[in-house]
């Protein structure tokens, strides 16, 4: 790709296997240098990275190579360059969350998910751009400027994990970690033509992930293929004593399901017939469903009426939790503090006014209002009751089908600036993703062709809680179909 050394374009398992084999000339150091060179060359056009961590990556690569040389196993991700969303903690590396309010905050500890990836041999090449505090669907809300879509730099990469998506799509790193609170892994994956997976809530530790909405947040993998994404998920999953919501689910590894025996759910409320610009995504859904039926899989038509309420429910629950989680940014413990506060209250209010961007303020206001005296019953409690009822509808649906297949987004990527002044239009971008977070379900987006203007589309496979392996098994079949799967963008730098 791009005239660079192409070992970085191998499947992750093969890349790591060559590094583990000390008789093979491919080393972790060589992979890391290739990744850093690509970032150096390409990222001026995309703005995917907020910080490059070349010294750290070289140190980690040297450790992997030393292990391989000594005959020890450096792990299943040996030498694989990894991009990390900048809301995950790496000790000693400044963490911004795409916000000015954290200043030069330096985390004292590891995010468990990142540490596990590194223990498996991955090498961190940089921290990626995001919407401030992961609040957004376009990566335009970063205090450090937008990221651009590698398939067309006038377009958004999606968000909030837009930096991670652009880094993988452009070949700068084969793997990236993102976080998904309402679609923030799957939506940018779809818009950038890569694979992105939101695991079952509780499969991956949230320790060291900066909290946005704690009952919805989940860390997950982004990669060029399902096999690569699955390899990263297998490395980071599992119970963590530092996150009491983690659970010991069966591994997400391949479980050899017979596709012909599956019932493929279609949710009536996910149809895009009335959505302007929704035709290509709807056509992609029909195409992959037909192909699945050719394998012997059967059709299950379902109606989940409460899916239509998922945007209102999400935009009450997530901001309510955020307004509480973001109370800690008060000018006392972290980064930025406003000058000349007359008293403590004044210090808080002025620090937060200066430090937070527009979208974060908007969501803090929505959440504070939804929780405030006189309104909490009508908004927050009603949203939580509706969320519980929605989850019950998904439980019933998964009695009638094994997986659900839908589009990931109603449309392909939109132009940078197009929705910047219309927050409600931006929120509606999440209409096909938020329900998985509200119900705690695993869901993966895989690339499924492009629109006439050459912009990628994604198809989403949803499963019952804990069945992340099944979701990947089905998604792998879709990925292998004609016109689906990862395609490198033309270099635009």
């Amino acid at each position: 790709m791009f005239g660079f050394d192409d070992s970085l374009d191998l499947p992750v398992a093969e890349m790591a296997q060559r590094v583990r084999d000390k008789d093979n000339p491919l080393t972790a150091s060589k992979l890391v240098e290739t990744s850093l060179l690509r970032i150096e060359t390409l990222d001026a056009a995309y703005g995917a990275f907020l910080r490059r961590t070349g010294d750290l990556a070289r140190e980690q690569a040297a450790a992997v190579d030393a292990k391989a040389e000594a005959g020890e196993d450096p792990g299943p991700l040996a030498g694989v360059p990894l991009a990390v969303k900048d809301n995950l903690a790496v000790p000693g590396v400044p963490l911004t969350c795409g916000s000015k309010i954290l200043g030069e905050y330096i985390p004292p500890t590891w995010a468990t998910s990142v540490k596990r990836a590194v223990d498996a041999g991955a090498c961190i090449v940089g921290k990626t751009n995001l919407d401030e505090f992961a609040m957004g669907s376009s990566t335009e809300n970063s205090a450090f400027g937008p990221t651009r879509n590698p398939h067309g730099t006038a377009f958004v990469p999606g968000g909030s994990s837009g930096g991670s998506a652009a880094a993988v799509a452009s070949g700068m790193a084969p793997l990236a970690l993102g976080s998904d609170t309402g679609g923030s892994i799957r939506q940018p994956a779809a818009l950038c033509g890569i694979t992105g997976m939101k695991p079952t809530y509780g499969r991956v530790s949230r320790n060291g992930l900066v909290a946005f909405a704690s009952s919805l947040d989940q860390v997950g993998p982004m990669a060029r293929s399902c096999a690569d994404a699955r390899a990263l998920l297998e490395a980071i999953e599992g119970v963590d004593p530092l996150d009491a919501t983690t659970r010991g689910y069966d591994t997400a590894a391949q479980n050899g399901v017979d596709l012909g025996s599956l019932r493929i759910g279609r949710v009536t409320e996910f149809a895009l017939d009335d959505v302007p610009g929704g035709e290509p995504a709807q056509a992609a859904v029909e195409r992959v469903r037909s192909a699945l039926f050719e394998t012997g899989a059967t059709d299950a038509e379902l109606s989940l009426p409460l899916v239509q309420a998922s945007i209102p429910v999400y935009y009450l629950v997530a901001p309510a939790e955020a307004s509480s989680n973001l109370a800690r940014y008060d000018g006392v413990r972290y980064g930025h503090r406003a000058e000349g506060g007359a008293d403590l209250m004044d210090l808080y209010a002025r620090t937060r006014e200066e430090g937070f961007g527009e979208e974060v303020k908007r969501r803090i206001l929505i959440g504070t209002f939804a929780l405030s005296a006189g309104y909490a019953d009508a908004y927050y409690k009603k949203a939580m009751a509706t969320r519980a009822a929605l989850r019950a509808q998904f439980d019933s649906a998964f009695a009638e089908c094994d997986v659900i297949v839908s589009a990931t987004t109603p449309t392909c990527a939109f132009k940078i600036g197009e929705k910047a002044d219309d927050p409600l239009a931006m929120y509606l971008c999440d209409v096909l993703t938020v329900a998985a977070n509200l119900a705690g379900l695993p869901a993966v987006s895989v690339p499924c062709g492009k629109t006439a203007e050459g912009l990628p589309l994604g198809i989403q496979v949803w499963g019952p809680p804990g069945r992340d392996g099944l979701v990947f098994d089905v998604a792998e079949q879709l990925e292998a179909m004609d016109g689906c799967g990862y395609e490198a963008p033309e270099v635009t730098s």
Partner: protein, 98 residues
């Protein structure tokens, strides 16, 4: 739900946000539009569904209370905007007489 500038100022105070007049003017109609969409949940009948249900968050048990390494206080203090080497420093909020 009617959301006007007075309500926005009240909520901003609760949220410890000092919004400028321009911000209040800009945000009030946006929040009114957003809540215009959100208000559709008032039409939903969820019967006696308990809003406090913990699912999908089920705790498998809490970790045992065992002594272990803790963070170096310096690694915390160095991130604070103002400290005296042992404590975080904030503006005085009690008068001497109190």
């Amino acid at each position: 739900m009617d959301i006007d500038e007075t309500l926005v100022r009240h909520v901003a105070k609760l949220a410890r946000l000092e919004l400028s007049d321009d911000e209040v003017t800009g945000i009030a109609p946006q929040l009114a539009e957003i809540f215009g969409h959100i208000d559709q949940i008032q039409q939903i009948d969820v019967g006696d569904m308990d809003p406090a249900t913990q699912d999908p968050i089920t705790l498998e048990g809490l970790r045992s209370d065992e002594p272990g390494e803790t963070l170096d206080p310096r690694s915390i203090l160095r991130n604070a905007p103002q400290h005296d080497g042992a404590f975080l420093v904030v503006p005085r909020f009690f008068d001497e007489e109190e």
